[in-house]
């Protein structure tokens, strides 16, 4: 290992991004297989054994296709939106502790950093919707913003519950506290568990996944903000969506399920297992539930989740005061 801190940071960043993008490629395969089974079909089977090489075939195909920019689109912003989306989605990885020693940067505001980046995600998607100069794209972008800034509030509030319980904003610190005092999903009875559910739900909404995918509701808006996108740019959006789901699962595992903490197996394996289990849960939800209507989405957020998370925060504070 080299001693130059800049080179080291660069290498670590490259390693994390490569690992993530590889994982993203094959979770698309996994999702298609699960979706197939849920809908009584087989999913991809043709390319490689069990269709395992399908992601590679898809990548090659999307790179070969022509990238079309609509004549009246805002070309610069149209080009800028997909890579920006992916960059923001991947940026969260910097603060996720995969094992006690493997953490790109243990800044003391790790949780806030992850939440801030997650909240930014609706930004490039709105840009895509506006730059496309298409009414469906713009409507989708508008819905994304409305949903994004509404659900950010219960998301931040529910993520503050483990912060209050652990007494630190650092991701590594939250995990270390759980390794000593038990996972938050069970250790603070009720409060931790409900906060975990709310966080998972709001992470789905920020990531534009069913049941919260009204921005790209295909029955009304063709494909929402991504309607005009083709080829590799569309693939970047898809990759960003999967990367966000995966990283949101990782953050939920870190904040509530004890991160890398676990018996017998090495820490990194536990982290991967927990993240994978949460991702499977999200996928299962996606193919089982219906899309919420716009007004139902807003009522759920403002009338249920926001008051609930405020109460949870109060409960967490009370719990900490009583415990010490």
């Amino acid at each position: 290992m080299t001693n130059d801190p800049w080179l080291r940071a660069l290498l670590e960043g490259a390693a994390v991004v490569t690992a993530l993008m590889t994982a993203v490629a094959w979770i698309t395969w996994l999702e298609r297989k699960i979706a197939g089974r849920i809908q009584s079909r087989l999913g991809p089977t043709m390319v490689g054994p069990f269709g395992l090489l399908q992601p590679l075939a898809d990548a090659v195909k999307s790179m070969q296709k022509e990238s079309i920019v609509p004549r009246d689109a805002d070309a610069l912003l149209f080009w800028l939106a997909p890579p920006l989306t992916l960059a923001l989605a991947l940026g969260t990885a910097a603060v996720i502790p995969f094992s006690p020693g493997l953490l790109a940067s243990d800044v003391d505001i790790g949780v806030l950093y992850a939440l801030a980046l997650s909240g930014l995600l609706s930004f490039p998607i709105w840009i895509a919707g506006w730059a496309s100069n298409n009414k469906y794209s713009l409507l989708g972008g508008m819905r994304m913003v409305a949903q994004g800034i509404s659900y950010e509030i219960p998301m931040v509030l529910s993520a503050l519950v483990p912060v209050v319980l652990a007494g630190t904003l650092s991701m590594g610190g939250v995990v270390r506290h759980q390794a000593e005092h038990g996972w938050f999903v069970v250790s603070a009875p009720g409060v931790g568990f409900v906060a975990f559910l709310v966080f998972l739900l709001t992470a789905l909404a920020e990531g534009n996944r069913i049941p919260f995918d009204i921005p790209e509701a295909e029955s009304e808006l063709v494909a929402g903000p991504t309607t005009e996108y083709t080829a590799i740019q569309w693939s970047l959006f898809a990759a960003a969506e999967y990367a966000h789901s995966l990283l949101a699962s990782a953050i939920a595992a870190t904040l509530f399920l004890g991160g890398w903490d676990g018996p017998v197996l090495p820490p990194a394996v536990w982290m991967v297992l927990k993240t994978g289990a949460l991702f499977l849960l999200i996928t299962w939800l996606r193919w089982s539930l219906l899309r919420l209507r716009s007004d139902q989405l807003m009522s759920l957020c403002w009338k249920l989740l926001v008051p609930l998370t405020l109460l949870l925060l109060l409960g967490a504070g009370t719990w900490v005061t009583l415990a010490t």
Binding site: L112, A116, G119, V145, I149
Partner: protein, 195 residues
């Protein structure tokens, strides 16, 4: 020049350049996006001063602010041009210049009068910040919360204000059930419902 100084000048120029674009851009959406670039670079400046908490909060809060501004911008202007021509006559430009100079003088005077420490100070940790909010600055903190609370209540009141006597409004925001289908599948619009 040290690496840190180079970094400072890069960020400072980025802030100023993006700020100039905010004012001169002819397209409303571009203006708002340049504003986002300005604010993001301010967050970078905070990081360079080791005030990471401030940087994260800057990103977290201004995202929502800028996005809302963008929505208003798009919804309240025409799509064709995306901007309203507000070029003003010369005397107004002169007044603007005087005003800008006055603000500049005020800000620089207050910066110059503030005794800045010579030595390098480390930014307070998040913990220290939180503690000072609830001890030394608790009055200002509570006053701010009260202000925000009144703003929230005001927003709810304005959003809920309705014309009295409009029966549609009293049913609330829920989507009304579809008119029942008559025999043969035709929809009876406006027909009184048989109880």
């Amino acid at each position: 020049m040290s690496g840190e100084q180079v970094g400072f000048w890069v960020v400072a120029l980025a802030i100023l350049g993006a700020g100039r674009q905010v004012v001169t851009s002819r397209n409303l959406v571009h203006t708002v996006l340049w504003l986002a670039v300005t604010l993001a670079n301010t967050a970078v400046a905070f990081v360079m001063l080791e005030a990471t908490f401030l940087a994260a909060v800057q990103v977290l809060l201004y995202t929502g602010g800028v996005l809302t501004l963008m929505l208003f911008g798009v919804m309240l202007t025409t799509r064709d041009t995306g901007f309203v021509d507000v070029r003003s006559p010369l005397h107004r430009g002169f007044a603007g210049g005087v005003l800008a100079a006055a603000v500049m003088a005020l800000v620089s005077a207050s910066i110059l009068r503030t005794p800045l420490p010579e030595a390098r100070v480390t930014a307070p940790t998040t913990e220290a910040l939180g503690a000072s909010f609830l001890t030394e600055h608790v009055l200002a903190f509570e006053a701010l919360s009260l202000l925000l609370l009144s703003a929230v209540i005001g927003a709810v009141v304005i959003a809920r204000r309705r014309d009295a006597g409009d029966p549609r409004e009293e049913r609330g925001p829920a989507i009304r059930p579809r008119a029942p289908r008559a025999a043969g599948g035709a929809v009876r619009l406006g027909a009184p419902e048989a109880e």
